[in-house]
Amino acid sequence: MPLAWLGVFFVAPIAIVAAYSFDVFTLFPGPHGFTISGWRSVVDNHVYLRLFWKSVEMSLIVSVLIVLLAYPVAYYLALSGTKRKYILLLLLIAPFLTSYLLRVLAWKVILGSQGVVNTFLFWTGIRSPDDPVTQLLYSRFAVILVLGYIWLPFVALPIFVSLESLDRRLLEAASDLGASRLRSFWAITLPLSLPGVVAAFFFVFVPTLGEFVTPSLVGGASGYMYGNQIVDLFGAGFPDWETGSVLALFLIGVVVVLTVVFSRFLQPQQVAAD
């Protein structure tokens, strides 16, 4: 049953997209036949590959930054012994009860030329109203900031879970043997929570790499990402499902390879944890 599910809702759609990419399957009439021209044009045309690297770079920045930010939060919640940890966790997740779109759009109000941040700067006299900070909205910065905000809880939760399940006796033993708190963090806590950290990193990196909603709302011309290109090839200008499919498959391919590499990297850690 699970295999059938996977076949129908995962393998079959990808196979259809692959058929589109080779032009053997198409919605539009006209002469069609097996061709690798879509693939060739993407490989030869460095514009798409450069855009892909730009998106990788942006997703990496988002993922690394929020893992670094979320770790102390998760650490505090899991290990400080506070009784209110689940309430605090709930507070962390609370904004996520509202719509994704609404949360993205709210940032426009904060970041715009007449937004909260700029108005504050005008009020303090740091910037003149004629010279607002314009890089806050419709920029790469805006996309990175908003994506980071959106995905933060998804990062904090796996790290929290891995820290929660940490065997406290190991920390006690380290302390009995005279290890400093920093030493026991480096030798015990961090390595044992690493699978959670890597999982968290992936939770963010994979979806943000193909992200298109946030960049289309706050990214402007410079925050345009690979995902936007796929959407536009399928639906704007003139339908180019062939190139769109090639780009989509390339993205899936990269994600699969990365997943395999990282899961191998995770194995020894898990053995060590056992």
């Binding site: 426009k108 419709y138 011309a221 290109q229 200008g237």
Partner: protein
């Protein structure tokens, strides 16, 4: 829900048929042969199922009801059912994927493409009484091979909107949307039309049908100047937000955007570039094989009425092909030159037209965005 509705329609159809049958019988007694013939004709042309319309958001039951109020009055039992399109490319994909609308509304540059594709059929102009009020230049643009494939509806210009307190243009030219002095304050429109415009600015003879070398030059210009662009808008609300908040000072815009920004009390100018603006016109098209052609004609006739046209101008700020309609706003009247039927065409503006190599243009434009 859907099947309940269909069931209700079927029931209604049966009732109508019974009534018609009764009427035919009654008419036979009273009016004799001609009465019967008339009733039979009515029965024979009665089309079943709801009229299917594929249109842009804002033109269906989501606020655009006034555009087809006359149709609903005429056919209270057959209200149109809507599916929405985000652009012509999306409509094309939906139709090829099996959607069967009776009517849809691409823009003038697509008339030839759809007429040649065999997906649409010409209108019977005699069945659209309001046609006589429509702008003859726009009607001409809706014809292909002498047949009326497109019935013109909404229209407007592509030109430049700018903040007069912040921007001092060096010339009345499309060059303003490339101007390095206003880096980070410029908005372009997300459409392959940007290449046409670049060609127009570069002085090519036929910007709609550029050679490979010309297209490369247009693409190079856009790619080089993209660094000045803050936003490439695809929805007007997006533009209004950015322009209204001062994030953008110069925009590729439509006349209604000018009206909207004036309403916000912003000092704005709607510039007519010396290379001339491009005029666009929405064209209602009838799908080939539509099982409801008569209803479709009535629907389009409603859209073409002066009342609908005025409503469109007053509420959406676009022009309408109906030359009798006059908007309440004198700003819009001026911007669209509504008293001049030739406003959309030479020597006043370039009426948008078919792009023979649309797929190539589209790819070039996508590359500009990706660059």
């Amino acid at each position: 829900m859907g099947s309940d509705r269909e069931e209700a329609e079927r029931r209604f159809d049966r009732q109508t048929a019974l009534k018609l049958a009764a009427a035919v019988g009654g008419a036979g007694l009273v009016a004799g042969r001609t009465g019967i013939a008339g009733a039979v004709r009515t029965f024979a042309t009665a089309e079943t199922g709801r009229l299917q319309v594929l249109d842009w958001a804002g033109y269906g039951n989501d606020g655009g009801q006034s555009m087809f109020a006359q149709y609903v009055k005429q056919h209270p039992a057959n209200k149109p059912q809507f599916t929405y399109m985000t652009n012509e490319s999306d409509a094309l994909a939906k139709i090829h994927a099996g959607l069967k609308p009776d009517v849809f509304r691409p823009y003038v540059g697509w008339v030839k493409y759809f007429a040649q594709s065999g997906l649409v059929q010409p209108w019977n102009t005699a069945s659209i009484p309001n046609l006589k009020h429509l702008n003859p230049f726009m009607l001409k643009a809706g014809r292909y091979n002498g047949k009326q494939y497109g019935i013109p509806a909404d229209w407007g210009f592509d030109a430049i909107l700018y903040r007069s307190d912040k921007v001092k243009p060096q010339a009345k030219s499309w060059s303003l949307i490339f101007d390095d002095r206003y880096k980070g304050k410029i908005a372009w429109f997300d459409d392959l039309n940007m290449l046409t415009l670049a060609g127009l600015y570069l002085g090519f003879r036929d910007p709609w049908n550029q050679s490979d070398a010309q297209l490369a030059q247009s693409q190079k210009l856009l790619s080089a100047k993209k660094k000045n662009v803050r936003l490439i808008w695809s929805s007007e609300t997006n533009l209004w937000e950015a322009f209204g908040s001062g994030d953008v000072w110069i925009a590729y815009a439509w006349p209604n955007d000018w009206v909207q920004m004036k309403k916000k009390k912003l000092p704005v100018v709607y510039m007519r570039p010396k290379e001339k603006p491009i005029a666009w016109v929405g064209m209602l098209m009838l799908l080939a094989g539509s099982p409801r052609p008569q209803l479709a004609h009535d629907y389009v006739n409603a859209w073409s009425s002066t009342a609908s046209a005025k409503w469109l101008e007053d509420n959406y700020g676009y022009g309408h092909a109906n030359t009798l309609a006059r908007p309440a706003s004198s700003d819009l009247l001026t911007a669209l030159q509504l008293t001049n039927p030739k406003a959309v065409t030479e020597p006043n503006a370039h009426l948008d037209r078919d792009i023979p190599r649309r797929a190539v243009y589209a790819r070039n434009w996508e590359e500009v965005k990706a660059a």
